[in-house]
């Protein structure tokens, strides 16, 4: 009887090998995420004082018991032990509510709550990148990328596909450690796997062309496409392929990577949905040309990105080979994670509150401004004014072309972006109509499968151009994006998944 046991076992020093503890061993401190899957809390282990994240498994299907999605996730997390993969510490239960007529404890435990206990991580990559005024340095980006690839290589070596690589599923702690999280969609695979897999996986913007073309047999290359998207996004400072639906997603991919044909992707014309989606005219591949305009993409970055964003999955670079890329072995070298600056925790629920307070302050300020226009105006950082003027925004510290010496870890340059510079202006966020949509959804990696119904991000950046390059040094934003005025429109307020998400559980085997 696990419930009864729990009280007894609680006095033990370590979680017992058999049977689980009660959630009462933890004091819930704060909700840090909310997905359709369930809530995520920051909590304290009452005995050890350790801070953890509690992810509730929602048991809403009373007919099919413990959710198979949770079973998949637990199976996988139980066998992954790596410094770049989030650690499932234990599973705890909360007692079922009732006793039956005879006063015996209710055996129907599924009515109680079940929580996965994870190590607590302060940030996720998306949240961190969205911090007002924050710029990642090149050594920092290399450091995160290398950890991402190391963790992913570990998963792939253990024949696990993550199937939902995106910024919000990459957790980062204040030691600079990056960990892959949310294995709610992950699957084991094998080369000789004969069964079909669902192609309704991976958040749309990070979904590879083979899935969009209907592939049901696929491998680790799908995750590497997502990694390519994240890599480019880190440098470009905004999502590179923000499609609104599957059709548009493929168009954006083909515009960037050229149109697929039997030469660059043998077999593509036989893909299930090729004929529905094939571009009307041949398109040229312009990955290098497009990103080459921006100086943050140096020669080695372009070379690596070019190998990641390959249409044909069989020719796409593997995580292992990517780790050997010149990019990680040339100046500026990846920095030591420990040298990275620490940031105040950025989980959605916490930042949301702060943003609300911020908005209230701003509204108060606006009212005040009407009374004292000059005085108030001068206090707002230039960053807020419609995105044209980036004069005060920090420049990219490790500019690859300025022949600056490689970043010295923990050097003074870190002070430059170590803290958000002043309050964000109103223009950073979508107009009020979109706000609730943009911020209500969880995006943390703890939140699991449901979280991508909505992307949960407003238009993240003040200007139309990429964060780094669009500063005074470069002048123009990328051609595909309108300057300014886009907030809430084409930004992250979209729902990139459409309604397709729900379907996948129905037929996935």
């Amino acid at each position: 009887m696990a419930v009864a046991d729990a009280g007894k076992l609680n006095i033990e020093e370590h979680p017992p090998l058999w049977g689980s503890r009660s959630v009462d061993c933890f004091e819930k401190l704060e909700q840090i995420g909310e997905g359709t899957y369930g809530q995520v809390y920051m909590a304290k282990d009452i005995k050890t004082g350790e801070i953890v994240a509690l992810k509730k498994i929602r048991m809403d299907n009373e007919k099919e018991g413990f959710p198979i999605t949770a079973i998949r996730e637990i199976k996988i997390l139980k066998k992954l032990h790596h410094e770049n993969v989030v650690e499932l510490k234990e599973i705890v239960t909360s007692p079922g509510r009732d006793t039956d007529d005879q006063g015996k404890p209710d055996n129907n435990k599924y009515k109680g709550g079940i929580y996965m206990v994870f190590e607590y991580m302060d940030h996720d990559l998306t949240g961190l990148a969205d911090r007002p005024g924050l710029r990642f340095t090149i050594p920092q980006i290399k450091c995160y990328m290398r950890q991402l690839l190391t963790g992913l290589h570990y998963c792939h070596a253990h024949q696990i596909l993550h199937r939902d690589i995106k910024g919000s599923n990459l957790l980062i702690d204040n030691e600079g450690q990056l960990k892959l999280a949310d294995f709610g969609l992950a699957r084991m695979y094998s080369q000789d796997h004969s069964g079909n897999l669902t192609n309704r996986v991976i958040t749309l913007w990070y979904r590879p062309p083979e899935l969009l073309l209907g592939a049901t047999k696929y491998g680790p290359a799908i995750d590497m496409w997502s990694v390519g998207c994240i890599f480019a996004e880190l440098l470009y400072a905004k999502p590179i392929l923000p499609g609104k639906n599957e059709n548009e997603q493929l168009s954006k991919i083909f515009e960037l990577c050229g149109s697929p044909d039997e030469n660059n992707w043998p077999g593509v014309t036989k893909m299930p949905w090729f004929n529905n989606f094939k571009p009307s005219r041949p398109l040229k591949r312009r990955v290098r040309e497009f990103f080459g305009q921006y100086q943050v993409f140096d020669r080695h970055a372009l070379e690596l990105l070019d190998k990641m964003l390959v249409l044909d999955p069989s020719q796409r670079i593997t995580a292992k080979d990517a780790l050997d890329a010149e990019y990680f072995w040339t100046d500026p070298l990846p920095c030591d994670p420990k040298s990275l600056p620490t940031y105040e925790a950025s989980h959605e629920f916490q930042t949301k509150k702060k943003r609300q307070e911020q908005r209230q302050r701003e509204e108060a300020a606006k009212r005040q401004k009407l009374q004292h226009p000059h005085q108030q105006h001068s206090r707002l950082p230039p960053l807020q004014h419609g995105g044209q003027s980036h004069a005060a925004a920090p420049h990219w510290p490790a500019h690859p072309t300025n022949n600056a010496p490689p970043q010295v870890p923990a050097g003074p340059s870190h002070h430059y972006y170590g803290k958000p510079r002043g309050p964000p202006g109103p223009n950073r966020y979508p107009p009020s109509g979109n706000q609730s949509r943009g911020y209500n959804q969880s995006r943390g990696g703890y939140s699991s499968s449901g979280s991508y119904h909505q992307q949960g991000r407003g238009a993240p950046y003040a200007g139309g151009g990429p964060r780094g390059p669009s500063g005074g040094a470069y002048g123009v934003g990328p051609p595909n994006y309108t300057q300014g005025g886009q907030h809430g429109g084409s930004g992250r307020g979209q729902n990139p998944m459409g309604g397709s998400r729900n379907q996948q559980y129905g037929w996935q085997q």
Partner: protein, 252 residues
Amino acid sequence: MAANFWESSQYKQLLDQEEVDVVQPLDKERGISVEDFKLIKFHMSNHIMKLAQHIKVRQRVVATAITYMRRVYTKKSMVEFEPRLVAIACLYLASKAEESIVQARNLVFYSKRLYPDDYKYELKDILGMEMRVLEALDYYLVVFHPYRSLSDFLQDAALNDVNMNQFTWGIVNDTYKMDLILVHPPYRIALACIYIASVQREKDITAWLQDLNEDMNLVKNIAMEILDFYENYRTITDEKVSSAFSKLALKP
């Protein structure tokens, strides 16, 4: 199931036979002997196999379900974890863990059909027991089985004709009527089954076995256990099984 057995929890949790043969205190109070304990587990393994045949799931699911059931009883008493219900819950859980999911209500339906007089559980009982089994297993759900090594070995030894394949596969299935999977690494169980089959079919694989760099004494011990089981199998009667079950039902 991918990945490496040697890094798995299953390897770390392998038990000694003496640990497996411990009758829980609550069961002891009702007079359950080690023999009864084995008999009930044997009977429930058969029960899982029979039920699985009706709902048509892969052998892998059956093997995983039986392993779950046997793992549960290394820590939990049969008094608290009613064997018939545990068997169904394990089959249900294994069908999820092995990605060939069975509807819980189908399990209820077929159980009722198989045992019209005897079966008394409903959907909510199965789901409730599923949770308790999950906890008892400490959520370790990945099970390595001998099947994969079996086909690799047969191929390597050039014994992979249909006949040998079926024969050895059948022996491996039979090993789930015992506790071998809790005690030995799966590949060694596979080797023992091949060894038995080769002796039975008079195929000389001595040279191949020697090349394996494996402690053949360990393999032979497992083979002996299996042969002993086959020997005793004939002495198992329905009366013995029902007498063991009736002890469980008695109040101490």
